[in-house]
């Protein structure tokens, strides 16, 4: 009975709705939170939503990973490898930026004792 749900269209719709919900949650967090680490978490959630959308919409149920192993000798019935390679690259970049942001936040907290972006106003016009 549930076979009707196991079609590419339904899968893609679920991925699209799910990742857009995730993106909105991240955007909401970005706009409303004031703690530096929560802002970085919101950014990470937004990035994850984009990766999920990319991976989800470029494959279909039944497709396998684009890797020649387990007796597989040709690229038939595999998912498109480009999005997966791109997502891996983007993940690495996002991780690096996130680590940089968190370490800068820690240093900033050590210097000033604050983690609140609202109170970061040393650069406003006096």
């Amino acid at each position: 009975m549930l076979d009707a749900l196991d079609t590419p269209g339904v899968h893609h719709a679920l991925y699209a709705v799910g990742s857009m919900a995730l993106f909105s949650i991240g955007l909401y967090g970005l706009l409303t939170r004031r703690h530096l680490l929560k802002i970085f978490m919101s950014l990470a959630i937004m990035e994850m939503a984009v990766y999920l959308l990319f991976i989800g919409l470029t494959t279909q149920p039944g497709r396998t990973a684009p890797i020649l192993s387990d007796g597989l000798v040709e690229f038939a019935g595999t998912a498109d490898p480009v999005p997966q390679a791109l997502t891996l690259t983007a993940l690495v970049i996002a991780l690096a930026v996130l680590a940089l942001g968190v370490s800068m936040s820690i240093r900033y907290h050590q210097l000033t004792g604050t983690t609140d972006v609202e109170t970061m106003s040393a650069l406003k016009d006096p």
Binding site: L36, L43, V82, P83, V97, Y108
Partner: protein, 503 residues
């Protein structure tokens, strides 16, 4: 890297060196010891020469440098008359900042190896953004340039610098998410990441999706290209960073993003008129708001930041018009703004090393202590607001003449209004620098750092000579700029060079 090096013979001058050489030199940084600054200067001077040499070879058509597989499947570099012109400008700008730091930077954070590596990576990232022919590579280069810029901004590692760095990083990450989102949607709908192939396929995807991708790219690139209303972060970051770093942001990074934005608009859209009109409005609003806000700034770096925003608005206004004369004028103004802003920010660096802060009161009468620097500031600001015979006058005149020829007059009114506002705030600062101050306030240099030698002024003098030279003889640049504008607007030529068919 290995693949790239194996693919192309090591010693032939190809565009890949414009990206590979800075990366290579940056990663080998432990080897260089105390020769870092001369090396940074030398490498960029070499890249500048390479860019000029390549520029001479692309007069008839773009140079497509294929990496591994031919486009559209593989990745390629697209070196044409406009991207190489900008690469030449940006490498020259980095070389001058390097020379300035070599001669003048005595603060420990500029003596560190990090500063050297970051400037190299920034330059590699910007060159990559200008040259790449692939949307995802564009994203990667944007991130390389971005991360180096965040760290350069926070290089001083005190609270103000870290605040600037953190704010830059957060806004930069937001911009990157939007650009990545647009990239993902483009791949899902067109099935390709090659810019020329996207240019051919873009018209066939649903209109709603086109608008969504366009808006995502506008937000993402608009943040980095400092367009209104995505530019509120800029003054704070320019104020928190050292002026040397701000010179690189305003003179190099923003220019690379402006090119990326307009290159995408002109390459992807079959008819850029509507989008161009919106960008013109955005540019005009950016300019007027920024110049009005600059009037009441009381900090030198914040004032320069708002002035930078105003000029970016003016360049956007000109490039958005998508007509050869005006676009050539806009590119000329882009060159002039880079030269003048480098000059002003480096003068600001000199002044801040001798004054207690960048505030109006602390800088009153500084001209008596730094006569040459104050004089160069006057020259830079006069070029900025467009007084003959300086370069800024010629480029503004060129843009306005182009608009007048096309019979469109509202941008001319806006540009004149902008120049008036610029005159108002620049003359206020100049008057302040030359105001006589009672002797006791001049008594001693407040900062304990050793003062820079007079050799530090030669990069500034080079910039001053260029500003006067291009003002007196714009004909020096005219052929290159006209060709660059034609190439930038020639969508079918760019697509044909890559895909082999006319769209």
């Amino acid at each position: 890297m290995d693949q790239i090096l194996l693919q192309s013979p090591l010693l032939t001058p190809t565009p890949i060196w414009l990206i590979a050489l800075p990366l290579l030199v940056a990663f080998l940084s432990p080897l260089w010891g105390r020769a870092r600054w001369p090396l940074l200067f030398g490498v960029h001077l070499g890249l500048f020469a390479l860019a000029l040499w390549l520029l001479a070879g692309v007069q008839d058509g773009p140079l497509i440098e294929t990496l591994v597989i031919a486009p559209p499947l593989g990745i390629h570099l697209h070196a044409d008359a406009v991207s190489l012109l900008l690469v030449a400008l940006l490498t020259f700008a980095v070389a001058l900042v390097a020379a300035f730091l070599w001669q003048g930077a005595r603060a420990p954070h500029w003596q560190s190896r990090q500063a050297f590596v970051l400037i190299m990576l920034l330059s590699a990232g910007c060159n990559g953004m200008l040259l790449t022919g692939d949307l995802f590579n564009l994203y990667v280069f944007i991130e390389i340039a971005g991360v180096s810029a965040y760290l350069l901004s926070a290089l001083r590692r005190d609270a103000a610098a870290l605040e600037a760095g953190l704010k830059y990083l957060i806004i930069g990450a937001v911009s990157a998410v939007f650009i990545l989102f647009a990239t993902v949607l483009t791949y899902i709908t067109t099935g390709t990441l090659n810019l020329a192939a996207i240019g051919m396929a873009f018209a066939d995807i649903p209109a709603a999706m086109q608008i969504l991708i366009g808006l995502l790219l506008l937000v993402g690139l608009g943040i980095k290209a400092e367009l209104f209303p995505f530019n509120v972060w800029v003054p704070e970051i320019y104020r928190g960073s050292d002026p040397e770093a701000s010179a690189l942001f305003s003179g190099v990074v923003v220019k690379a993003f402006l090119f990326v934005l307009f290159n995408l608009v002109f390459l992807i859209l079959a008819d850029p008129a509507v989008v161009g009109r919106w960008l013109m409005i955005l540019g005009g609003v950016t300019m007027v708001i920024a110049e009005l806000t600059a009037l009441r700034q009381r900090d030198l770096r914040r004032m320069l930041a708002y002035s930078s925003l105003g000029q970016v608005g003016l360049i956007t206004l000109a490039l958005g018009f998508a007509e050869t004369t005006v676009v050539a004028g806009g590119l000329f103004h882009l060159v002039n703004h880079t030269l003048a802003k480098l000059l002003l920010f480096m003068v600001a660096a000199l002044m801040l090393s001798r004054a207690s802060s960048g505030h109006l009161d602390a800088l009153t009468g500084i001209a008596r202590r730094l006569p040459l620097a104050a004089g160069l500031f006057v020259l830079g600001s006069l070029s900025m607001l467009g007084l003959p015979p300086l370069a800024g006058f010629m480029s503004k005149l060129w843009i306005m003449a182009g608009f007048a020829e096309a019979g469109v007059f509202w941008p001319i009114a806006l540009i004149l209004l902008g120049a008036l506002l610029e005159a108002a705030y620049f003359f206020r600062w100049i008057a302040l620098f030359y105001r006589p101050v009672p002797a006791p306030r001049l008594a001693s240099d407040p900062v304990g750092l050793p003062t820079a030698s007079s050799a530090v002024t030669w990069p500034l003098l080079v910039l001053a000579v260029l500003l006067i030279g291009f003002g007196l003889a714009p004909v020096l640049l005219e052929p290159a700029l006209n060709l660059a504008a034609e190439v930038l607007l020639d969508r079918s030529g760019a697509i044909e060079a890559v895909m082999g068919v006319r769209p």
